[in-house]
Amino acid sequence: MSDLNSQRRQFLKTTLGASAVAIAPGMLLYGMAHSKSAAASDKVRWGMLIDTAQCKEGCNDCVTACNKQNGLSGGTKPTDSQFIRKISIKDVSTGYEQSLPMMCQHCEQPPCVDVCPTQASFKRADGIVLVDRHRCIGCRYCMMACPYKARSFVHEPLTDQNPDVPRGKGTVEACNLCVGRIDNGQTTACAEACPNNAILFGDLNDANSEIALKIRSVASTQVRADLQLNTGIRYQGL
């Protein structure tokens, strides 16, 4: 009798253990997938303030960090994707030279979103302009419409992608303001990598954030402000 009992107990234990082992990975994955369920809030407007006086000619650290973050090759052929690039500008009349990073300006009124036929280009509630790689049909109209030449087209099949930042041949891509990092409470890869702290990332809508305080106290400009797109990326010292 006791032998039978112990056998039954053993059977129940084994079954329970096996069930736990079978269910646990699923539960874990489900938990991981749903842990960040909070939607982007329209109370927030993510942006960056770039101090061109602090940006050094020849330094490419932000570009390197961006390439690593997004799994880009770092190539500079006309067919290679560049989410961020360093631009050298020289005032024609005075000869004054500056260097600055240029990327998607995350406009409040983004022309790329207006022209996209499939709503693949979209602006998240918190102001980040993104491309839905599953909806993009690769018409490149957004690239025609972008005033900042911020977008690239994936011209070749891709290998060794960064699983956090999926890309796709035949679709358009651009700076995503490191949306995955932001959702994890981190700053953008370029801001983190800048050795001179020339890039300040933060919430433009939060009156007490460092970026909002600074924008109130220093003169900043938007590139092609004449287009009245209200960019999320501002420049100081231009």
Binding site: I87, V115, I137, Y141, P147
Partner: protein, 393 residues
């Protein structure tokens, strides 16, 4: 007594022509397959010249598809008998060219397999999305219009269908012009002049295509066109060519007046190398001046001259679109007015563009599709213009 051997050889010629066009279309499919598997890297397009030769072909076909309907409108809407007799052929050409053009446009997409997304996720603010409705609407309307002409019981609806097509094609070409007119930041585009310019260009290009096709059909059927009719459509082509030249001149001259646009205009008109040559020699001389000479010089203007002029107008159209599309993108965006700009992403530089063979294969594939639709339809249905001996109007 019918000469059977002549009929047989003509029959053979028809199938040879069809086979050749089929091969060209197959070449286009091959290019699509290659671009699908290798990516657009095998085209000459890049991140600066994002629209290339396929778009030159596609936009020519779509604009001419709208313009050729002018022949039909003058007949159906304005009641001119000479043009009414030509309305079925004009409508057929419109469908054929629209079909060819849209195929090229669609197959050049980075992900043509996802074309259905354009219907399931519609963006109301996108002129591209509007055009999807405009193009498919035009297709259906012209088919209905053809039906009202070719089916006797539907004849009473012909006037209404003709009017609908007339309005629709104006809106459609406006939509094509708006694709560029809405590009606020590009020097070459972003002008409200572009939609009317495209409409006038479409008149000339469409009529030129019509002349050439009509000539081939008359030759095939061993008929000759009434010189009085030729005279009328020839003069109309002249007016359209002058009209389009006027629009293009206005576009460039207004640009020249704005100092922030002079850099771009100097690039197109003076120092753009192949772009400049294409504009002056390809578009202005071959596409406009020479056709005008052929049309209006006393003693000229006979059949051969009209066909030569029409062919040149078509060539000029390709030159114009190359300058407009490729040249317009090659000139860099002006991110920092008043500054010299350089970067690893070719900021501040004139872009270079070497179109690849695949792009031409795709473009000619579109022409071949238009050709096949036209030749097969002309053979199985009666599209031959039926003129009455007396010209009423």
């Amino acid at each position: 007594m019918v000469d059977l051997s002549a009929l047989r050889s003509k029959n053979r010629l028809f199938y040879v022509l069809l086979a050749v066009a089929g091969l060209v279309a197959l070449g286009g499919m091959y290019a699509v397959h290659m671009m699908e598997s290798h990516g657009h890297i095998i085209s000459g397009m890049n991140n600066q010249i994002v629209w290339g030769i396929p778009h030159v072909f596609a936009i020519f076909l779509i604009v001419a598809a709208s313009g050729v309907l002018n022949v039909a409108s003058i007949g159906s809407v304005f009641g001119k008998a000479v043009y009414k007799a030509r309305a079925p052929l004009a409508s057929l050409l419109s469908i054929a060219m629209l079909g060819g053009g849209l195929t090229v446009l669609m197959l050049d997409l980075g992900r043509p397999d996802r074309i259905i997304v354009a219907a399931t996720n519609y963006n109301l603010t996108s002129v591209f999305a509007w055009n999807i409705v405009l193009y498919s609407g035009m297709f259906s309307l012209v088919i209905v219009y053809l039906w009202t002409m070719m089916e006797r019981r539907m004849n009473p609806f012909n006037k209404a269908a003709g009017l609908a097509v007339f309005v629709w094609r104006f809106v459609l070409t406006t939509g094509t012009g708006l694709i560029f007119a809405f590009l606020t930041a590009r020097q070459a585009y972003g002008s409200a002049l572009l939609p009317p310019m495209f409409i006038v260009l479409s008149f000339a290009w469409g009529l030129a295509v019509f002349h050439v096709v009509q000539r081939v059909i008359y030759l095939w059927n061993e008929k000759s066109l009434d010189p009085a009719i030729q005279q009328r459509t020839k003069n109309l082509l002249g007016v359209f060519v002058i009209g389009s030249l006027y629009m293009v001149a206005t576009y460039h001259l207004t640009n020249l007046y704005f100092s922030h646009q002079t850099g771009f205009e100097h690039f197109i008109l003076l120092n753009g190398g192949s772009i400049t040559n294409m504009f002056w020699w390809g578009y202005i001389v071959l596409g406009n001046l020479l056709p005008l000479l052929l049309i209006y010089t006393p003693g000229l203007g006979k059949t051969k001259c009209v066909i030569a002029a029409s062919s040149l107008v078509i060539l000029g159209a390709f030159a114009f679109l190359y300058v407009f599309i490729i040249g317009g993108q090659a000139y860099p965006l002006n991110l920092f007015p008043g500054y010299e700009v350089s970067s690893s992403f070719a900021d501040g530089q004139i872009a270079t563009y070497q179109p690849s063979l695949y792009e031409f294969l795709l473009g000619f594939g579109g022409l071949a599709i238009a050709f096949i639709i036209t030749t097969v339809s002309v053979r199985v249905l009666n599209f031959m213009p039926q003129d009455k001996p007396y010209i009423a109007d």
